[in-house]
């Protein structure tokens, strides 16, 4: 019934936090990887090793530590590039996916009117109703600043992107299409090919929010065909405070910088400055070196497991969970109920119980889920709900975790007598 190439319980041994005893006295059943993932020992060791052996400001010194720090940092960039099948110079380290999207939006906003990236009244930015606030508000703000129009793909009741009006949404005025690869609420994986083709046909760039995809299945940016992609390290086994923006080299070269300051310059006078080449142009200041090194170790860990195995494991978990959920009464899944084009994020509501209360009872059993609007408030409004309870699965989960969740939901219903 449950068949996966990976053994979640074995994998947990690599993650020190699973030794923790939870509120109710039991083990940690961590079903909140959609918010942030736990970290394997190898990531913590890599960060520490950096600090204890190579710590220095990168690119800024001729001494041994500075050389080693630069090699470690650039080595991490090479790992990320390899993981995404990208070129090294196309990888920009940010502090988060949020910063990555803001970087693009601000850079476009900084463009001269004649630039291919400049937006003006009448131009369009296209998003979807299932976007995380991080891939919505920066575009709202850019639209307000430039007078461009913000439009969006609606969502079907099943939680799929409604692409029926694709051609009229992405019309000739579209300059940016910003879309999530996988919804952090519904689990829906969006069909990119038709969107990318249409966007490129009308001369628009495509920005992909890959927060919920890069950690979960193999990504090849060249195959995807998008122009920009962002993700956060902390959701991919990596440290907090480090994220990645990948962009097509020819676009990055032409774009205006975002953060300005040290290390991103070519030359500086009191009144003027010129910019270093990509990726430096977008990495002002002393970067999160240990964070980058930790992210490199995280992606190396995933690579060793094999992203195909990771994907198969999560599919097995999702199918198992979807099946188990049918045994529950008074529980409604928000999002696709079959596992096709769907990731391992499972949102649901329980009749008569507010998500916050459900989360609280589950916590008593050591089960960590997320509750609320999941930074996708417009999506909640669309479904007419205040929030959901969300379980999200990752490599260290197994069928026993899902059994615990199912039992926990039943216990919650009993506790609140619904």
């Amino acid at each position: 019934m449950f068949n996966s190439p990976l053994d979640g319980a074995e994998i947990r041994k690599d993650f020190p936090i699973f030794a923790k005893t939870m509120r109710g006295g039991g083990r940690l059943v961590y079903l909140d990887s959609g918010a942030t993932s736990q970290k394997p020992r190898s990531v913590l060791d890599a960060e520490r090793y950096f600090y204890e052996n190579h710590n220095a400001a990168v690119h800024r010194g001729s001494h041994l530590l500075a050389e080693e720090a630069s090699e470690a940092y650039e080595g991490a960039r090479a790992i990320v590039a390899g993981f995404l099948s990208a070129n090294i110079d196309e990888i920009i380290f940010t502090k988060s996916a949020t910063e990555g999207i803001n970087l693009i939006a601000y850079s476009f906003g900084n463009s001269a009117p004649s630039s291919q990236f400049a937006l003006k009244p009448g131009d369009r930015i296209v998003v979807s109703e299932m976007e995380h606030h991080a891939n919505l508000i920066p575009w709202q703000q850019l639209a307000k600043r430039t007078g461009a129009e913000l439009v969006w793909f609606p969502i079907t009741l099943e939680g799929r992107l409604d692409t029926s009006a694709l051609d009229s949404l992405i019309n000739e005025r579209a300059k940016v299409v910003a879309i999530t690869h996988q919804s952090n609420v519904l689990g829906t994986i969006n069909p990119l090919t038709q969107i990318v083709d249409r966007a490129h046909a009308v001369g628009s760039v495509v920005v992909l929010d890959a927060c919920q995809s890069v950690p979960h299945f193999g990504i090849d940016v060249k195959t995807l065909g998008v122009d920009f992609l962002v993700f956060s390290g902390h959701k991919a086994l990596g440290p907090t405070g480090i994220g990645v923006l990948w962009g097509r080299a020819d676009l990055l070269e032409e774009m205006e910088p975002f953060l300005t300051g040290g290390s991103m310059i070519e030359s500086v006078t009191m009144s003027d400055a010129t910019w270093a080449s990509v990726p430096r142009k977008f990495e002002a200041g002393v970067p999160n070196m240990a964070g980058a090194v930790g992210l490199g170790a995280a992606l190396t860990y995933l690579d060793k497991l094999g992203m195909d195995n990771v994907e198969a494991h999560e599919r097995a978990l999702t199918e198992y969970a979807l099946k188990k959920f049918t045994e529950l009464n008074g529980v409604t899944i928000i999002g696709p109920k079959d596992s096709a084009m769907r990731g391992s994020v499972l949102s649901f509501t329980i009749d008569g119980i507010h998500p916050h209360d459900a989360g609280q009872v589950l916590d008593q059993y050591g089960i960590a889920v997320r509750t609320g609007h999941h930074c996708a408030w417009p999506l909640m409004r669309k479904f007419g709900i205040a929030g959901t309870t969300r379980a999200s699965f990752y490599i260290y989960n197994d069928s026993a975790d899902i059994d615990a969740l199912i039992d926990g939901i039943a216990a919650t219903q009993k506790y609140f007598k619904v």
Binding site: G24, H354, H356, D357, Q360, Q364, T371, G372, A386, F416
Partner: protein, 146 residues
């Protein structure tokens, strides 16, 4: 179990049968508050009679803690003077921030002492305070409007 210190019977009672949960028209002041981290919302209507809290009514969505706490708050506040109401409010806020070290003064807080357990669950304190903060805001706005 620890959970029972959070979900006392009186809380679940208020949750199931919330008091004054139906907006009364023509308020002295109406306020709308949200809890941005979970999306819970409350609309609160305050009727003042001079310095007296004549009526408090509300509507909104939220978890059992926020619903029960608001319900209890309305019962407590109606009929009090502004000064008395603020005293109760401060007493309750203090209880919420006590991290489980206080049990609450029942003479002042009445049913609200049942919420003492919330203070051990940091993420829930905002739930318990949602209605109270809306009330405080409404009162101070109505005072300023004078």
């Amino acid at each position: 179990m620890e959970l029972d210190s959070l979900y006392q019977e009186v809380i679940l009672d208020h949750y199931r049968k919330p008091a004054h949960k139906a907006l009364v028209a023509n308020p002295t002041k109406q306020v709308h508050h949200v809890n941005p981290s979970c999306g819970d919302e409350i609309t609160l209507n305050l009727h003042m009679n001079g310095n007296l809290v004549a009526d408090v009514s509300w509507d909104g969505v939220g978890c059992s803690i926020s619903q029960a706490s608001t319900s209890i708050m309305t019962d407590l506040m109606i009929g009090k003077s502004v000064d008395e109401a603020m005293l109760v409010l401060n007493e309750f806020t203090e209880l919420m921030q006590s991290k489980g070290t206080l049990t609450g003064n029942e003479e002042i807080l009445d049913d609200a002492v049942a919420l003492a357990g919330v203070s051990k669950f940091p993420a829930r304190i905002k739930c318990a305070l949602l209605g109270w903060m809306a009330f405080k805001d409404a009162v101070s706005q109505s005072q300023l409007g004078k």
